[in-house]
Amino acid sequence: MRFAFLSLLFAAAAPAAAQTIAITGGMVATGDGGEPVAGTVVIRNGRILAAGPGAAIPAGATVIDATGKWVTPGIVAGFSRLGLSEVDLSGGGSDTSAANGPFSAAIDVAPAINPLASTIAVNRADGVTRAIVAPDIAKSIFAGQGAVIDTGADMDPITAARRFQFVEMGETGAGAAGGSRASAHVLFRNALREASELRRYAVPISSSGTDEPDERSRPVIRDPNESRIMGIGAQRSEDVLLTRFDAAALVPVLQGRQYLLVHVERASDILQVLRLKREFPALKLVLVGASEGWTVADRIAAAGVPVIASAVNDLPSSFEQLAATQSNVGRMAAAGVRVSIGTINDNDTRFLFAQRQYAGNLVALRNVPGATGVSWGEALAMITSRPAEAIGLGGQIGSLLPGRRGDVVIWSGDPLEGMSAAEAVFIDGVQQPLESHQSKLRDRYRYLPRRDLPEAYRH
């Protein structure tokens, strides 16, 4: 049994990325904060060529009629563990953290991403096209290096590997640091000092100008951090806490060449993180969580540090979230903080599609007296361009501005409404399959009366 869910499917036999596609007649929202307007979106060679009311349809373009539909950039999961876990509880094979492993900051999620995970297919089918993927901590406050991935149905999921380091500095970090926030802060400083000692040992990765007698005995090094460990005289003091790999992995953080995503919720913890820049001025901080951010929003704004927040946390789930309110995001945004939405510790391996519902809830707050919501356009931006901008990829993904990657979704209606669905999804200009384990089960069990063969034969 199959359903004709898609009226938009076109014969995509040609190499899709090379095609020119014009999506016409839809309500177009570019994802950069503006409200939707009727217009056209043109994708050429996998990139956005033009979007909006004035976009012309190039000759030879494949035209998709999206009349009555909405067209937006694909959703960017602002903070997730997508692709790291097939089943979270007792399912085996979860790669979110390494409880018994020796490494922390050196961990790089990129090799663990499974592009064929069912979670990726489910989220792709709901219009999620990219995800910021962080590892979870194990025994250290440092979780390791996160990646940006796409959800395309292919074997190349990595958009940007080692884009950021993730560290826990609130209650969770305190636990990993042995039991206190004070300990977490000392561990953080110690780690960056250890990284600082390794900084000078870097050698060019491709350099052969060493005293090594035999090139064949040299390891092939592709990660610049590893080159620091292999550099001449890269001895370390015996008074170290981090492994060499972990310390080396923090060098780009220290140098501001890699973003540092810091999870904190409590107002005072937020301010302590902002203060780290006094000691380590090059840090490129991004706050994650920040449930109490609204209470110190002016100071976050003044520091120019972006926030990836949980959208609708409104419970004092812990003593670091006492001031939680759904107005947190709106109030921070109103104070000038650059805010985006993520799913911090909120079923982050699989429910990224919930972000658009959360964004819609923030719009709804505008009609609640005393609450602070956000405009529709800004809400969409918070799940598309804003998270991309927070980690410096705003020029690549998350909007329909010319030159961005061709990640486009055609929706049955307003994408912030839970009742709307993604009807066509393009990633890098390639139209994606929307089938999943779930859609196959739906089709198998749509009609239950017994037939000539068991259900197992319906596929």
Binding site: F3, F5, E86, V87, D88, L89, S90, G91, S118, T119, V122, A267, E292, T295, V312, N313, D314, L315, P316, S317, S318, F319, Q321, L322, A323, A324, T325, Q326, S327, R350, F351, F353, Q357, G360, N361, V363, A364, L365, N367, V368, P369, G370, A371, S412, L416, E417, G418, M419, S420, A421, H437, Q438, S439, L441, R442, Y445, R446, L448, P449, E455
Partner: protein
């Protein structure tokens, strides 16, 4: 009940031949089946007329431009513009707004896993034995859980069932509450609501006990232990039924068995945590074998595979819209589960099991409704509202009192500022038994729990 005369007792004490006469029997002592009775009393309301509203009456009916009259704690009338207002009533113009019965969450842990979620507050699972029917969730409920207020103000939830957790095959008794703040749990208990028994099949019991090297370690162990426990309950029931009929020496009381006896007598409703279709089918047979009924399967993510069986057995399914994959037994969840179950003629309920989800059950229903429509199952908005009020009320045995807007029923009512199936809708006012307990326009009509007083964000909109 037989009553022996005093005289025969004395005679028996004096005469050796009394062994030939039947021994005297003391009358059976009546067991108090409601030792922690509800002390809930409705708060005062004013006669209220809501006009020009779109009304979902909760039983599948819809009135556009409708009127609802609330007075003396109950729904007085539901109809069109012609309804006459009682003298002295407050009139509310609800043009562009929607009126529904209050949402009822059949699966919550508010109070027994309250916020903040610190270890001291983990009161939902008596995970010390797989069979713990002796525990009662109400003895864990902390009335100061801030989650109750969020469920009211953001979720439009007017009643809820708080259940023990699912670590155990027999988790204990549930309690149904009015979502009205009180100093004690008794002050929240829904008057006259029957008790429920939380049962669980599947992964949780076998994981929790199997990992300790105890039974159950497998699904077959789950069922074996469940059956063995029911056999004990049957024996206990026989003993007590005889005693209550004939009197005599009171059998030893067992609080655990009291609960199971109540189930076998049809007084306590079974709420069975069960994800997989095959396991639900087994539990239906267990119930038949042991002489009880399954009222509702909770977290029933695979109900769609056996919706016909569930319809034939009159069993409700309490479901999420789109939760999936967080454990193996949820791996086959589909977004069309709720509409597929509804479409088969079985009872479908949207539940939360979550302190955040309970604030958006209307949105969860909306997603399921839309997914159903995309699969050519055309259910109207007003019929879909049965998933949120009437069906959970039936599952809890309180439908005669609440769950729909019918004259004489409790005035548990939500005024929404837009169609509640839109993500942009919010409760504007919530009445419970006709008392206005939330008003978005009045910061004084917003509960603040003891826990939140003097804390950052006290009294904020949340």
């Amino acid at each position: 009940m037989r009553v022996e005369s005093i005289g025969s007792v004395i005679a028996c004490a004096l005469l050796t031949a009394c062994a030939l006469t039947p021994p005297p029997r003391a009358p059976a002592i009546a067991i108090n089946e409601d030792p922690y009775p509800s002390t809930y009393e409705r708060y005062p309301g004013v006669p209220t007329v809501i006009r020009n509203a779109t009304i979902f009456d909760g039983e599948g009916g819809r009135i556009d431009g409708g009127s609802v009259i609330l007075a003396d704690g109950v729904v007085q009338a539901v109809g069109g513009a012609e309804l006459a207002a009682p003298a002295g009533s407050v009139e509310i113009d609800a043009s562009g707004k929607f009126v529904t019965p209050g949402i009822i969450d059949v699966h919550s842990h508010l109070g027994d896993y309250p916020s903040p979620g610190v270890p001291s507050h983990a009161d939902g699972n008596e995970a010390t034995s797989p069979s713990r029917p002796e525990v009662w969730a109400e003895h864990s409920v902390w009335p100061q859980d801030p989650g109750f207020s969020r469920a009211l103000a953001n979720g439009g939830v007017t009643a809820l069932q708080v259940l023990p957790g699912s670590a155990n095959l027999f988790g204990g008794r549930s309690v149904t509450l009015k979502n009205v703040p009180a100093r004690t749990v008794q002050g929240m208990k829904f008057p006259g609501a029957p008790y429920g028994l939380k049962m669980a099949c599947g992964e949780n019991p076998k994981r929790v006990y199997g990992s300790k090297g105890n039974m159950p370690q497998t699904r077959m162990g789950n069922i074996a232990l469940t059956r063995a426990t029911w056999l004990k309950a049957q024996a206990y029931k026989r003993k007590w039924d005889t005693y209550q009929r004939k009197g005599g020496d009171m059998p030893e009381r067992d609080i655990a068995m009291d609960t199971l006896r109540g189930v076998l007598a049809g007084k306590i409703l079974v709420h069975n945590h069960c994800y997989r279709a095959d396991e639900m089918a087994i539990m239906i047979d267990v119930a038949r074998e042991m002489g009880y009924r399954v009222g509702t399967f909770h977290h029933a993510v695979e109900s769609y595979k056996i919706a016909d069986l569930l319809a034939a057995n009159g069993i409700c399914s309490a479901m999420w819209a789109d939760w999936y994959g967080f454990k193996m037994e949820s791996y086959d969840a589909i977004n069309e589960n709720i509409p597929f179950v509804h479409n088969s003629g079985a009872c479908a309920i949207v539940h939360s099991d979550d302190a955040n989800g309970i604030q958006r059950l209307n949105q969860e229903a909306a997603k399921a409704l839309a997914d159903g429509r995309r699969a050519q199952i055309n259910i109207s908005d007003e019929v879909a509202w049965t998933w949120l009020s009437a069906n959970p009320a039936r599952a809890l045995g309180i439908f005669e009192k609440t769950g729909s807007l019918k004259p004489g029923k409790m005035a548990d009512v939500v005024l929404w500022n837009a169609n509640p199936f839109s993500v942009y809708a919010r409760p504007e006012r919530v009445w419970i038994d006709g008392a206005l307990l939330y008003d978005a326009n009045d910061p004084k009509r917003r509960p603040v729990s003891d826990f939140e007083l003097g804390q950052p964000g006290e009294g904020d909109v949340k």
